[in-house]
Symmetry: D2
Subunit: 352 residues, 4 copies
Amino acid sequence: MSSQSILAFAPGTPASRLNEWLQFFDTNGTTAVQQFLGDAPVILAHGPGVETRAPASFTAPVAKVAVTGDFRLGRRELRPQGTIVRIGDAAVGDGSLNVFAGPCAVENEQQLLACADVAANYGSVGLRGGAFKPRTSPYSFQGLKWAGLELLAGARQHTGLPILTEVLDPRHVERVAEIADGLQIGARNMQNFELLTEVGKSGRPVVLKRGFGCTVDETLAAAEYVLAQGNDQVILCERGIRTFEHATRFTLDISAVALMKQRSHLPVMVDPSHSVGIPALVEPVSMAAAAAGADALLIDVHVAPEQALCDGKQALLPSDFGALMGKLELLAMGLGRKMAGVMRPVLADVER
Amino acid sequence: MSSQSILAFAPGTPASRLNEWLQFFDTNGTTAVQQFLGDAPVILAHGPGVETRAPASFTAPVAKVAVTGDFRLGRRELRPQGTIVRIGDAAVGDGSLNVFAGPCAVENEQQLLACADVAANYGSVGLRGGAFKPRTSPYSFQGLKWAGLELLAGARQHTGLPILTEVLDPRHVERVAEIADGLQIGARNMQNFELLTEVGKSGRPVVLKRGFGCTVDETLAAAEYVLAQGNDQVILCERGIRTFEHATRFTLDISAVALMKQRSHLPVMVDPSHSVGIPALVEPVSMAAAAAGADALLIDVHVAPEQALCDGKQALLPSDFGALMGKLELLAMGLGRKMAGVMRPVLADVER
Amino acid sequence: MSSQSILAFAPGTPASRLNEWLQFFDTNGTTAVQQFLGDAPVILAHGPGVETRAPASFTAPVAKVAVTGDFRLGRRELRPQGTIVRIGDAAVGDGSLNVFAGPCAVENEQQLLACADVAANYGSVGLRGGAFKPRTSPYSFQGLKWAGLELLAGARQHTGLPILTEVLDPRHVERVAEIADGLQIGARNMQNFELLTEVGKSGRPVVLKRGFGCTVDETLAAAEYVLAQGNDQVILCERGIRTFEHATRFTLDISAVALMKQRSHLPVMVDPSHSVGIPALVEPVSMAAAAAGADALLIDVHVAPEQALCDGKQALLPSDFGALMGKLELLAMGLGRKMAGVMRPVLADVER
Amino acid sequence: MSSQSILAFAPGTPASRLNEWLQFFDTNGTTAVQQFLGDAPVILAHGPGVETRAPASFTAPVAKVAVTGDFRLGRRELRPQGTIVRIGDAAVGDGSLNVFAGPCAVENEQQLLACADVAANYGSVGLRGGAFKPRTSPYSFQGLKWAGLELLAGARQHTGLPILTEVLDPRHVERVAEIADGLQIGARNMQNFELLTEVGKSGRPVVLKRGFGCTVDETLAAAEYVLAQGNDQVILCERGIRTFEHATRFTLDISAVALMKQRSHLPVMVDPSHSVGIPALVEPVSMAAAAAGADALLIDVHVAPEQALCDGKQALLPSDFGALMGKLELLAMGLGRKMAGVMRPVLADVER
């Protein structure tokens, strides 16, 4: 595996100062390219530490790391303070605990608005909902597609919550990105590299779900596909892996949450609902995820789970979701953190 | 899960006779749709066995099956004799043992032609080679892309072997299908349903690799995405799953080979090379796959594995590939089968 | 699978009243046996609910459950308030958060006493330490055996902490049980049923570690081997399972913690150290385990991890252990729980 | 990990000549110990190749290998021709294909003799049958124990086949070894190191089943526990590992069969029955195992599978077993091998 030196510069560093560096590497026989990590210029230079011999007059990088292998722009050393990903007003990665909630799939306007109200009333910072649904079988409900996306836009207007929704096809990215506040890459598409490149180009915040058969290293490598397009607005999402244990739908890899936080500057989300697939386990697993350091949770909530067209059996009832939000608030205090959203007490009462 | 009755009719059954059936279901309050399984008309009727009350004058189906769940058109009961998938002159599924060989990735004309000669001389029925390479990291070699596809076309002309190559992006399917004899869906894309639908529409033969985190049931369900487009030319390919055992790259699920043969009418291929990732294990695992009933093998061969740009370490040397082909021929006899390809003895000697 | 009715009676229920029940079942053609769940008499009756027809004069059971399958005496329904397992003064299962800490293996007196002091000073409720070590290879350090057990007894005298240690061989159980306060069954022995039976008979508290290749259901079934001997002092211990993810040594199954709490009345312990195998992950994973509802944690601490004879690389340094204990205390407040142990501030300062 | 030089000498090498070597190592400051690999003396010397400086007059070892890590006495380099394990008249490891068949559990005399006749008539070289059954639940049938062992001895007398049976408890080894021709260590006990040591001491041939959660490396390390007692009569048995795929009971790791053959001089057995758990898959998986190089197969056969007290659902019917034996004979020819057993045609006809 090739080794690289990566130098990160302060946003706004003039091109002329970066060019000094690039020419210096070139003169010293080292291939170097400039990219952006968000608005911070980054220079990636092949090979063994030529940069230590650079003239003192050069603009010093704000961070520097020598890497072997393919995990580069996402490395924590390049941005020790961490990246904040903004989805609407939510600031995931600022230390607070953010909950995105909503139905697995958008089914119709009434269902979506009811679920969106629950999400909003109990303090979610964003609304999740699938318009395009990747289904194991071609004979299952595939989502309302573009019509579902319109409904999500309506729910955003209704609640004020930003919307987070999955995109499946590179041909759809541009159009979905016009409407959605955040794009979700599903577990089955984590290594759909054409799709990752397109969402990278879109500039939209991306929730990248770990493939259920993929390692942490592969997840970090997949994030590089988005980062390499200059898009640093990436949230890594742990949602369970396939193991021999079938008492739960997947096995949530709680250690991976901490590991990704330590290795990468990107914020980490956890999806307890799809991981466990059992409502009674969503609360304890959500608590665990927050305690392990997750920046955000993604939770299925449905006003009538038994009628859901997709994955209903794992969704929380509104009242259980409310109870969870209350417990998370106390937990956050024990962790020295705060909940990002605000509960809306009056509406919440009505809801009950 | 809904239950279905599926009726398969002989190819050439007149539309008028099928319409009798469709009207009969409609009259009896049963939703029914007509599709094709290759050139055989198939009627899928929801619900509980209305067809048993159809008039005796109706054209009788050649096969009939009641199903629960989402595995439908691929079921063995619909075509007990099995499906033959034709890639160029190769007839995968006719009982013979077919080997497709070649380099993991197309690197340049010289490398490709040298590998193609090896494949042809030792009796392969087709040439494998990747032009578009899905790589874990954006910083790895991504394949020669369209130029690689042109080289594959040249290698086909040179050797007479049909070419099998991977397609990654739904936007590429039409153009790749114009050149390639068979389209390969990689393990990372087994649940890229948009891509599956496009290769289904293309009408080209498809090698569908099992996702390394996916079950046999999910693999069969993924095949339905292709079959549902009227394309029955699908080969299921076992290439190893992710397990805790890391002595080999993946764990080849040999039982799945037999299971897929028993459950589905589609032929089954095995990719020992990517499964084990160790050249010394390719031979015994290939032998095992054939003995378990695989219709075809997909084997990495490279004239200079140590210089390969992608997955070289698992490729067989030409001489080892030749030795394997000899052993497979003897094994096939012990199985009451025959090798599909023909060794070209004179050229093979030159090769050595 | 056979179905059973299980009736639990209050401790102290006279034998004569239980015999009424047993005779009633016998008269009604139902096989029934009496056992004990701790000091509570339990009657297990085969078959379909004869007990509903029992005379009103009979002593009513305090809990009753109909079961199918082999998970019987451990079921939460039989003791909804949960079981408290007492190891020395520690009361695991009373709602508090209990930490057992110490070295993986007892190496010598100096090492053990130093580690024991650290454990005690920072508020552990018990001392862990292996005298008999099950090692993958016969050529690895196998523990100090009986001499190690003597050292553990000395460390108990020195610190006042009860000792928890592993037993490997059914022939050793009686003698180990004379010295140790709690017996640990290692993951490799979870299905060593002869050993389980012996520790059941010993009457000592048992920490039953989940096998790394075993399901939650199998873990609960293994506990039945102990419970069936009338020993209800069993703690279930999650310590990670084998998965394809090798970034950590094992994958801690955090959902299993909650699942076992919900299904069983037995308290649950988590071993973050052996699960992750990386010191930097022990803290977040410990926090997660507590938040998921674990009653106890089992943590490797070593005063000189780099010199440890067994699994040193995963042990926490004393200062890191102290920091963790402080965070757990705050976390417990956020969870509405309390830490069971007491930090010894003066000594702790000296330690630093 | 420490490195070792291992020197194997010809059987019968005089102690005086070995002592020269041991003194030489001692003089050169290298710790060395002498053991036996079967009847071949072996010297294990710590550290870096002192033996290259030994006087030419010393007796030369017949094989020599430098090792790192804990896989020592089982290494193929020490006995490149492979080890033959003799169970009764069977010679497992001599290149032939050996089938051991019988019921999972001994249930009664009639059942055992009927199954034993089937095994014998169709050419098995040994009779399998469990007297002590390790069961997940204490409430399941645990075997006939000592009475079952007596029945096995009777079946041996009846058929002339040697008997292979499981031993669970170190306290039982001596007595079981007096009766059984071969001792089986079950998957759940592969890392029951006390038991491994006892069976090593017994001197009896041992079939060591791979733990379903254990790696190939761990299996080889477990074999060292037996080998280190001077007992080289060990057969490694692959019987499937736990993976996310539940379409079969376990996932047979076919690559491991070849890998163990390449790494170790010990013969390899495969247990298709327990691996797949589905009778229809036993035949193709048996064929695959033989083609991958397995020396032996262990197959459940039952005259009335639906009445079996243990794992009946996976047992082959006599007629299916006979068909398999016929196919294996043809396959063996294709592999240039021969079946070890002899079909008894007259009795076989009666059986049908």
